[in-house]
Symmetry: C2
Subunit: 184 residues, 2 copies
Amino acid sequence: MAAMQLFYEHGFNATTLNDVARAARANTGSLYYFFKTKDDLLLAVLDNYVQLLWPAVMSAPFEQTEDPIEKIFAVFERYRQGLIHTGCTRGCPIGNLALEVGDAKPAAREKIALNFANWCKAIQQCLDAAAPRFPPDIDREKLSRFVLTILEGGIMQARGHRTIRPFEEAIEFLRDYFNRLLKK
Amino acid sequence: MAAMQLFYEHGFNATTLNDVARAARANTGSLYYFFKTKDDLLLAVLDNYVQLLWPAVMSAPFEQTEDPIEKIFAVFERYRQGLIHTGCTRGCPIGNLALEVGDAKPAAREKIALNFANWCKAIQQCLDAAAPRFPPDIDREKLSRFVLTILEGGIMQARGHRTIRPFEEAIEFLRDYFNRLLKK
DNA sequence: GTCTATATATTGATAGAC
DNA sequence: GTCTATCAATATATAGAC
């Protein structure tokens, strides 16, 4: 799906159907055989991201280590490598779309929320696996959302400053928070 | 400045100069007397946000309490009220622009980075004022960026889910982290 | 400085041949 | 299913009167 890459690189509004068709080595007319409107194409892209969560995001980092907490940091390391690889010009495709078209397109926003929720569920699996090490009053579902908060906020600043440092610092603080949270 | 409000509500690319002119009760032709291009208008808007940091963002929350740490949470409360007031459809105008046009327009990105840096500086003033209560190995400049990370990440999820909860949870976790960090 | 009018390009989308 | 051709609308931007 060529649109996925283009929306990721330039955003939804800045990508024309001409761009999409050219990248797919087709013509604009052909696009409309598959997608009724440009918004429909966006929804298809967001559905695609839902499908890609495990194969493209979680599976590799999760296999790198047995420790559930370290799995989380392996996921962050994957995003860190992505930022470095693009010179901190691109971050999280879902986060980008959340802020660009979130409120204007209800159907898209719901799929964005689903992407967020599924991402958090994967992280919560790790937190649950380490449940005995956490204080009993810690809500691990909320904590999984806080982990995403740190990821997205760190990515945003890395892109804003075009340097990986704010993202790396965010990882360090998350590490410090976990250290203070987890039983020794 | 009408463009500021429109970029905030609909984003940069989704706002036309016609929209801006109409909101300013003028005509598109008039806009070009003040701004050479649409990108120039964006830069002016971002400059405006730099000027507004203290009068429109920091001053009121900072005056609400003497405790420097509570000043920070007063700032978060201000953003929380903003989210609630708009039904979680709008968040941080700088964050929006950072992810929508950040990499495509270098001049804009630099002004976005300046907005981020100044925001963090204000927060760091609070952290420095509470310096003796922090562990000596805590880098308060980095911590100020982590505070922004949590703000922006929390706003993003609040908008994605169209509910204030993720933002409120982020505040709770920041509070918990500070509690664990600060000397009793 | 603000207006009207318009140039030029591009947009999302459609029609119909093959 | 993919193409060519094209529509109608809209975009940014300009020219020149007042």
